[in-house]
Subunit: 428 residues, 2 copies
C-alpha cells in the first residue's frame, strides 16, 4: 500500500515528511492546553449575545495575529441573544426541595406550577396532560453520540407537543451518560403558532425520582420559575485567519471549531477543543515555516449552539471556492476517525489521502458549521474522537478545562493539522 | 478451621444454618431497595431541624411497627437547627458568572466580597490574607475514605484560620473523588472567640480554575451571598425498635444507621443504606420467626451529620448493658470487611465469630453514633463497604437512590443481619 501510494502521488514522500514533522510538533505543543485554559478559565462561558463570546472573539483575533497569519479578519454576524436569568425548579409535593434545573436555550421565561405527568413518548400525551407539567422521561439508551439522535428531538419538540395538550410547562430528562445530578441544557424551539410554555432539563436522577413516585401513585407537583428572556439579535463575529496558498490561493481549505458555548460550563470539550485544533494548526504551520499550495483558513465560528448563524453567514459570503473543510466539534478526546460528506470521487480521494498514516475514514458526517458549505461542493470532513464520555460533559456545567486531557487534545491536533496540510497540498 | 470452630462453639452448627438462611433471605430481599426508595424518593433530604427528618422519624417508627418489632419507641433529642437558605457564589473578575456552591453546615450567613487568595495549606496564610476571600485548594490525594482525613480538618477549621488573618470569607475545594462540577458540603465549626466568616465548598473544577488564574497573575474576585441561619435547637428523635432476647434480654445488640442526611441530596449512601440495613435486619429475623438470646435493637440515629446528639443521647439514657453495636454508615456499596473498637478479648471474640463465613476483620474503627457507647465497654463494630466511589456522592447532590446498587445494598444487609444474629446468640 505504501509503495503503491508512493507511485500514485507525486511528491507524496516529501508531504509525508512534513506530515510526520507536523504531528511530532503537535504532540509536544504545550501552548495547545495553555490556550484552552485562556479560553475556558480566563474567559469562561460564551453564549451568543454574551460579553464572554465577544471577549473570545477579541482573544481569537489577537491570537491569530500574534501567530503571524497572513490575514486575520472578523466577519460580522447577527446572532440570537437569549439569556437564562435566574431560574429555579422546586418539587413542592410530596416534599419541598429545590431540584437542579437548566432551562433550554430559547425557552420563554415565566412561572408554571402543577402536577407532574411523566411520559416516555409523545404517544402517552393526551387530554390528561391539560394543566400539567409534562416530564419527558426518555432515557439515553445508547452511550455516546449514537444515543443522542434518539432523544434530541424531544428537546427541540417537547414543549410544543406538551402545549398542544394544554400542559403549562415541560421538563426533559437530561441527555447525559454520566450525571452526578448534573443537568444538561441545549437548544429548543417552538412550533409555528404553538403556545410557548417554559421548558428545561432536570437531572437523570430526578427524572427517575418522579417516575418512581408516579409508578407508586404518589402525586408530585413542581413549580418552575424561569427568568429566561430573548433580546433583539446581537452583533457577533466569525474569526477568520489564513495562510495564503502559493499555487492555488483561491482554493481554500478550512480548519475550524466554534467559539460560542452554552452558558453553564466553560465550553471546553464543546468546543474549546475544536477552537484550539484550528488555531494551533495555523500556528504550527507558521512555526515550521512551510507554505501550503492552497490557502489554509482557520475559522472560529460564532453561534453554533443556538442558530448556526456563523456557519451560514460564512458560506453565504465566502463559501464559493472552498475546496475542503474540517470541523472538530465532538470534544477533545482521543481521536478515532474521520467522517465526511462529498461525492464518491471526493470520498475516494480522502481515502487515498489518509492511507498509510491517518485515522480511518469511518462513515458519513461533517459538522453543523461546515454543513452550510455543502451547496458549494466542498468536501466536508469531521473529526471523530472517542465519545465514551462526551455526554458526561455535553452542554453541562461539567464541561470544564480539566475535563480535557492534554495528551488527547494534542493527539487530535496532530491529526487535524496533518490532514489540513495534505488537503492543502495534494495535487492529484 | 471449620472443624475447630465446631468444637469450640456449642451450637455453632445450628447458628451457622440460621446465618446461611438469613443471608440467603437478605440476598433476595426486594423490600430493601423499595424502602430505600420510600426514604430517599418519597421523603428526600432530611437535615436536623427539617420537616423531612421528622417525616423520616414517623416513617421509621411505622415501618418497625408494621414489621412486628416487640417494642418500638422514639427517644426525644434536641438537635441543632441550621438552614442553608438561598445562597450564591459569583465569580466577578476576571469574568462574571455564578459558580456552583454549597455553604457548610453551621456557617453564618452574610455577604463577603473580595479578591481570592488561593492557598494549599494554613502555612500560606499571613498578613496578605487581610480583606481577602481564602480558597483552601487542598486536593484529596488518595481516593476513598483514606484520603478524607487529610482534608476534613480544613473543613472544620478553615474559616477560623482564615479569619485570624483578617479574611472576610472562606472557600474549600470540595472533598470529592468524582466531581462533574458537583459541590460537596459537610459540617464546620468556629473556634472559640473567632470572627465568624461565611464558609462553603466550591467544586474541584472551580478550585482548579482559581488556582490557574492565580498562578498566571490574573486577579480573581468573588462575591459570596449566604442565606444561612442557625435557629434554636429543634426537637428530633432516635427511632428504636427491638426484638426481645429470650435468654439475656438485658444484654442488647444494636444494629444501626443514621436517619438524618445533608440537605442537598437524598441521603442514599449517607446513610439511607445504613437505615435499611438496620430496619431489614429486624424484619428478616421477624420474618424467619427466630428468637435471639440477647435483645436485638435497631436504632435509627438522628443528627449524626451536624452534632451527633442522637448517639450521645442514646448512650446517656440506654448505654448501660449494651453488649455490642454495629453501625453501617459508609454507603450501600459492596461490603468488604469489618472494623471494630473494643478490648483485645472482644476483638479476638469477634474474629472467632467471623470465622468460616464472614467478611474479614480489617482494622480499628466503629462509627460516629455508636462511638458514644465506648465508655460502656460495648464492642463497637463498623461495616466497611468498598469506598472507591463513596466520595463521588458523599455530602453532595449526587447522593441519590439510583446511586445505590440493589444487589450491593442487599449484600451489605446479608452480612449485617448475619453478624447481628451471631452477636445476639453466641454464648462463649
Amino acid at each position: 500500500m505504501w509503495v503503491l501510494s508512493l507511485v500514485l502521488w507525486a511528491g507524496w514522500g516529501e508531504q509525508m515528511e512534513t506530515v510526520q514533522t507536523l504531528m511530532e510538533t503537535a504532540r509536544k505543543d504545550t501552548l495547545a492546553y495553555e490556550r484552552l485554559g485562556e479560553l475556558c478559565l480566563g474567559i469562561g462561558h460564551r453564549l451568543s449575545g454574551s460579553k464572554g463570546l465577544e471577549e473570545a472573539v477579541v482573544w481569537g483575533q489577537a491570537t491569530m495575529e500574534k501567530d503571524g497569519a497572513d490575514r486575520v479578519w472578523l466577519q460580522e454576524v447577527m446572532v440570537p441573544h437569549w439569556e437564562r436569568g435566574e431560574e429555579h425548579l422546586w418539587l413542592t409535593e410530596p416534599t419541598h426541595e429545590e431540584l437542579p434545573f437548566l432551562s433550554f436555550g430559547g425557552s420563554v421565561g415565566g412561572v408554571a406550577e402543577g402536577e407532574v405527568l411523566v411520559v416516555s413518548s409523545y404517544d402517552e400525551l393526551g387530554p390528561r396532560a391539560e394543566g400539567k407539567i409534562i416530564l419527558f422521561n426518555i432515557p439515553k439508551e445508547t452511550p455516546g453520540l449514537e444515543g443522542y439522535g434518539d432523544v434530541v428531538g424531544y428537546r427541540y419538540g417537547g414543549a410544543t407537543a406538551a402545549a398542544e395538550w394544554g400542559a403549562t410547562g415541560a421538563l426533559l430528562r437530561s441527555i447525559a451518560d454520566g450525571s452526578l445530578r448534573t443537568p444538561h441544557t441545549g437548544g429548543m424551539s417552538y412550533g409555528e403558532g404553538a403556545e410557548k410554555i417554559p421548558y428545561g432539563a432536570i437531572t437523570v436522577e430526578d427524572a427517575e425520582r418522579l417516575q418512581w413516585l408516579q409508578d407508586r401513585g404518589t402525586p408530585a407537583r413542581v413549580k418552575m420559575s424561569l427568568g429566561a428572556k430573548t433580546y433583539p439579535d446581537a452583533l457577533s463575529h466569525n474569526v477568520i485567519g489564513e495562510i495564503r496558498g502559493t499555487t492555488y490561493p483561491d482554493e481554500v481549505v478550512i480548519v475550524s471549531g466554534h467559539l460560542d458555548a452554552w452558558d453553564v460550563g466553560q465550553g471546553a470539550h464543546d468546543d474549546g477543543a475544536g477552537v484550539i485544533h484550528a488555531l494551533e494548526t495555523l500556528r504550527l504551520i507558521r512555526e515550521l515555516g512551510i507554505q501550503p499550495k492552497r490557502t489554509i483558513r482557520a475559522v472560529l465560528w460564532t453561534n453554533e449552539e443556538n442558530g448556526s448563524r456563523g456557519g451560514k453567514s460564512y458560506a453565504d459570503a465566502f463559501g464559493e471556492g472552498t475546496f475542503a473543510a474540517i470541523e472538530s466539534d465532538l470534544g477533545g478526546f482521543q481521536p478515532i476517525g474521520w467522517v465526511s460528506t462529498g461525492t464518491g470521487e471526493q470520498k475516494a480521494w480522502l481515502d487515498r489521502l489518509l492511507e498509510g498514516w491517518g485515522l480511518p475514514h469511518i462513515g458519513n458526517g461533517g459538522g453543523v458549521d461546515i454543513g452550510h458549505l455543502e451547496p458549494h461542493g466542498t468536501l466536508l470532513i469531521g473529526l471523530r474522537p472517542d465519545d465514551t464520555h462526551y455526554f458526561d460533559y455535553h452542554h453541562a456545567p461539567s464541561d470544564t478545562w480539566d475535563a480535557v486531557d492534554e495528551r488527547e487534545l494534542r493527539e487530535g491536533l496532530a491529526h487535524v493539522a496533518a490532514l489540513t496540510w495534505l488537503l492543502a497540498n495534494t495535487e492529484e
